[in-house]
Amino acid sequence: MPTPRHTPVPVRASLDRRAFLRGLSLTGLAVGTTGMLSACGTESQVQDADKCVSEDRSAEEKDLVFSNWPEYIDVDGKKMPTLEGFQKQTGIDVTYNTDINDNNEFFAKVKDQLGGCESIGRDIITLTDWMAARMISLGWIQELDKANIPNVEANLKSSLRAPSWDADRSYSVPWQSGLTGIAYNAKYTKEVGSFEELMTRPDLKGKITLLSELNDTMLFMLLLEGADPEDFTEDQWASAIERLEKYVASGQVRQFTGNDYIRGLNSGNILACEAWSGDVIALQYENPDIKWVAPEEGLSIWSDNMLVPNKATHKTNAESLMNYYYEPEVAATLAAWVNYICPVEGAQQAMEKVDPSLVENPLIFPTEDFLAKTYGFMELDEKTRQKYDRDFARAISG
């Protein structure tokens, strides 16, 4: 029996596998996407201690996970003397990670967990002032119990006791402070004394790097504009950004980097750069040609702060560690190795025993005169920071 052409063929025959799957997935995608898209959008990520309760299991578990920046603790061969001292003294087993390389990068890594009140598997994280301020304002950080950190109460330097973002240090304890200035390789170039020189000297063209950290680099751009980095206007910011764009367009700047400027400076690819004090002093032990200078315009000062994130389950252990690092002898041992500014009162006296040559080192124990030339960076609210971050990202992308 011949089938007329227009008779519908049985479904099974007409529906070959490919068409079926294609249809299925397209329908799924169409239905799913519209549904999911409209359900998207995120709530505010702000958490508060009442809702996002963190349990402390320090009593049962003698463990602690500590995340820090690379090359930021004393090392002796494969051992870390101060950290081992802590483990011996308290019996707390510390897992030490060096997984923080960049404030923004680390923030991007943990924001979804902390924003959703989940654990990030770390008990202490170490972040620079402005990022610590941001985390605290988002309610992602646990309040410290001051009874557990008497050494911090007693020995924290007075200049660090009341930052605007954590006025009574209820959430943060400084790990180290540091300075941002200029470093150069004396084997390949003559002294670079000011930022003006760094940005305009023709023999440095294409041979310098700046830091990709907004606060550091823009602080100097603002100083070059004659503005006060601790209190500047929208217009001053805009002209500082223009200035940076001009330098980038002129080909003076070879790269914007994090810690990795060290390699280029050491090999001579980079003749001079914006640099962090401790890194450079540590490099000098290997390569005496590397010099660090305090630029004529001034210096940038900052601190990195230990914080206990929400849902970290060993807060008391974390507080023991903070307390331990505020014993002057321990602080001096640490400072002698990392060469950053020591936040602990009494460490200078203790340094006599550890390494007498460093007692008068202004980069570890700065004098009042020295500190007079340093600037912090104006505190920015979330919206402004976002806008400035965008301006800065655009300026450094050439």
Binding site: L37, C40, G41, S44, K207, R254, R263, S267
Partner: protein, 302 residues
Amino acid sequence: MTAAAHLPGAETPDGPEIQPRGARRGLTGYVLLLPGGLWLALFFVVPTVVLVATSLYDPSGSLQLGYRMTGHWQNYVDAVRDYSDQILRSLLYALAATGAAILLGYPLAYAIAFKAGRWKNLMLVAVIAPFFTSFLVRTLSWQYLLGDNELIVSALQWLNVLGEGGRLMNTPFAVVTGLTYNFLPFMVLPLYASLEKIDHRLVEAAADLYASPATAFRLVTLRLSMPGLVAGSLLTFIPSAGDYINAQLLGSPNTRMVGNEIQALFGAGDYPTASALSVALMVTIVTMVAIYVRRAGTEDLL
């Protein structure tokens, strides 16, 4: 006919008696699809939808306020307008790297397939061996090789190819070199696989028909190796266009690629623009690849 009947789910004209068997086989196919399908749904479809959704968020949101889903499609206009240089640059660098990889990879794959003899396996291992060390470490070592005071630059300066004070590091050349180096194995392996299958008697037959070696290569070897060439260039081009490590480690502010911008935007907390840029890049690449595959006549690959 028999072949068709064995395909699971293919129509079976013999009717009901075979039907149950056919249906069961059809089911097996779907069950086998399940793990891969679930994987894709979880790790491809969901992230893609989230990415597309994020690209349509209200750009005035923040983590503190939350982001509202407003279908703000202007994010795309802004992203493409602000970053058109970087998008073009990425495509250009990726094309250059793919071209260089073909020039380097084809002779290499050809030699391994036809001329290596007993060294064949060793040479293949040598192509794959770099994967045993980290991508980052290998890229960092190029910083040393191309350094201002190292052998290559000094030699080129001595030959007056590079002027006094000329450099290779942190230039487009360094970035394209890094891309080529890192993705070369992805060019060589598919090329080798398709060259290796070519029956050498076909080339001999071409010679018997008075084709010169060049003509024989063009009409026989090259055409038969097209699937490998297409696969290789896709595997090189696609990851190169989205790469940001090479531009970050070997480039300068003036060689930043779109990957660097996406990363920087995510870092700066501008999630809507970052997502819009990612989606725009994805669409651009898919379009280019679709056109390329059509023109090359190798749709079977997709």
